[in-house]
């Protein structure tokens, strides 16, 4: 039914179109008929008949000849001419920015938004990319002396990224230019990592290694025939090797994080479920330390964009710390609240312990690698000095913030603010 209706409507529209297209011819025909009527004095019926014939003729489909020439022209132009620059930019996986003669952004693709943010159309590129080499590149290309140019550009903060940036003008006299960023962070990071790894790890691995070497010497020498001492020394050596294994695990997970500094967009994490599973997995440790974990979760959905495994590690590290170092408090409170009052709406997860707390002068620095508030205590709790460093790394990737509040003797509270985007 509906099909017939629309078909009929379509046909009526076509007829109206034809009438409209031949309106001038129709008008001229009518004038001619009226003139004949006036001068020749024929009957009115003949005039009406002539008018009806004219209208009917105009309603008939016109010859398709000139329509087909139009179609041919359209087919000819449908190559790259009709392709929108926007679609083309979206199809490029690297960050790409199109700008005009005054260095103002005309269009930036999704990759550019993800990498740099805050590049709405109209923002000046020379204000956004202030590094001297980028300024030189922009000046060079805008002066019109060269058609294309490229430089190496390194962004240190918030996470280090290195790009090979090439700029070139688009088409002939369009007054548009394009910047394409080729990410080379990976190669640079591998270089840096090697140096860092050797510096950090060699120092930390040396200590247990030295003690193992010492005990081996003792076992081969003075303690050769002393079964009691042998048993004790072997126990210590076992502890030291497991410490080294933990350290290597942490170093590897830290370097894995550094290898891929930004996050795959689009995945959502249900915090309630993630934190529940963290609490379950740390149940045995809490029992061993005599700590009770209490939950205080807000109502409603608690989803944030992020990577589930990484956020799991964040809360695992924080809760593990709370259980170990806040042991004397006897309880740990995990609370999730909606931080809507914050300038950046999101969800706050707070892990609070009631242990000895952290002295104020250490708070700013405890996320540094191998920084320990109390070296002795950290060793006995089997800490590697990397837990909070890993936490901070993951949170930086999530655009999240870690704030630490503590009062000596009253415990410490670690709050993670995850933006809801």
């Amino acid at each position: 039914m509906a099909d017939i209706g629309t078909e009929r409507k379509g046909r009526a529209q076509a007829v109206a179109m034809r009438l409209w297209n031949s309106r001038w011819l129709l008008a001229a025909g009518f004038v001619a008929v009226l003139m004949v009527y006036g001068f020749a004095g024929i009957s009115g019926y003949v005039v009406l008949l002539a008018g009806a014939v004219l209208v009917a003729a105009a309603m008939l489909p016109a010859g398709v000849a000139h329509q087909s020439t139009e179609n041919a022209a359209a087919i000819e132009a449908s190559g790259l001419q009709r392709l929108s620059g926007e679609y083309l930019a979206a199809a490029v996986a690297d960050p790409l920015i199109i700008f005009d003669r005054s260095a103002a952004v005309v269009h930036a693709n999704a990759a550019a938004f993800a990498a740099f943010g805050g590049i709405a159309p109209g923002v000046s590129l020379s204000l956004k990319f202030r590094a001297p080499e980028m300024q030189a590149l922009l000046d060079n290309i805008l002066s019109g002396n060269v058609a294309s140019d490229s430089v190496d550009y390194i962004e240190k903060l918030p996470v280090e990224r290195a790009y090979r940036v090439s700029a070139s003008s688009v088409g002939h006299a369009t007054d548009l230019y394009v910047l394409v960023f080729k990410d080379q962070s990976e190669a640079r990071r591998i270089d840096r990592m090697r140096a860092d790894f050797i510096a950090n790890a060699s120092h930390e691995l040396r200590t247990p290694l030295a003690s193992i070497a010492g005990f081996i010497e003792t076992l081969r020498g003075p303690a050769r025939n002393d079964p009691a001492a042998r048993e004790q020394f072997l126990q210590i050596m076992q502890n030291q090797t497991s410490r080294m294994a933990r350290l290597i695990d942490d170093l590897l997970s830290l370097s894995r994080l550094e290898m891929k500094p930004y996050l795959k967009p689009g995945t959502e994490v249900d915090l309630r479920q993630a934190i529940d599973s963290v609490i379950d997995s740390l149940g045995p440790l809490a029992k061993e330390n005599g700590v009770v974990i209490e939950r205080d979760f807000a109502q409603g959905p608690l989803d944030v964009p992020g990577d589930r495994d990484e956020l799991f590690q964040v809360f695992e590290n924080l809760l593990e710390n709370a259980c170990k170092y806040g042991q004397s408090g006897g309880r740990v409170v995990v609370s999730i609240t909606r931080g809507d009052s914050d300038p950046e709406p999101g969800i706050d997860v707070t892990i609070r312990d009631f242990g000895p707390g952290i002295p104020e002068e250490h708070i700013p620095r405890i996320t540094e690698r191998f920084y320990r508030v109390d070296v002795e205590n950290s060793r006995t709790q089997k800490g590697t000095g990397l837990g909070l460093s890993i936490v901070k790394h993951i949170l930086t990737r999530h655009n999240a913030r870690l704030s630490i509040r503590s009062e000596v003797g009253k415990g410490a509270a670690f709050t993670v603010h995850l933006p809801a985007r």
């Binding site: 000046s124 020379s126 204000l127 918030p158 510096a199 300038p343 104020e360 002068e361 700013p364 690698r369």
Partner: protein, 241 residues
Amino acid sequence: MQSVHIVSAYDEELKYLSKRIAAMGGHAERMVEQAVAALVNANPGLAQKVIRDDLVLDEGQREIDDKAIIIIAKRQPMATDLREIVGAIRISADLERVGDLGKNIAKRVVAVADGRQPNSLFRGLEALANLALTQLKEVLDVYASRSVEKIGFVRDRDDQIDAMYTSLFRELLTYMMEDPRNITPCTHLLFCAKNIERIGDHATNIAETIYYIVTGDQMPADRPKGDKTDKIILPATLPAK
């Protein structure tokens, strides 16, 4: 950014000012970054380069001052335009000081490079510099995008910088008490830390100027004071280790 004027050359002049500010900002960021890298890696060559680069900033500030005065004289600016121009003068002065502080850090590289100091100190300095540089970068990004609602974060960072500086101050004092031979390099490092902390203050100043340019109001004056080094007194003898 600005509304369009009838004389388009006026727009061009204002745009030129903000472009020069951005270029100065880029130079200042780079100088501080390289000065700290030279300090941490004990690289006197890089330090020399930083010291030479300071000329660019001095030159930039003079140019912006001249241009701004000429615009005021020629165009008789009002409201936003006037704030924009006066703001440019103030921001360029702050950036020039940031460059000076970076240069000062670079000058101390040689003095510190002699005796090797504990790694944790350098890591602390690096972290402090990262905080200050992040703050400077965020502020200059706000200057580009004019989104003043992000300025609140800048002050939060200022607190972090002050807390970190206080912690480093304490640590440096401890090293000096441990061994008098540490006093020379540690004093230099103390000045470096102070310089970095001052860079953060200049970034906050710039943030306040931007707020004024965009809104026409002064930023609320509840700037908290987190630097507690004026009260640090370590006991005369070291605690038993």
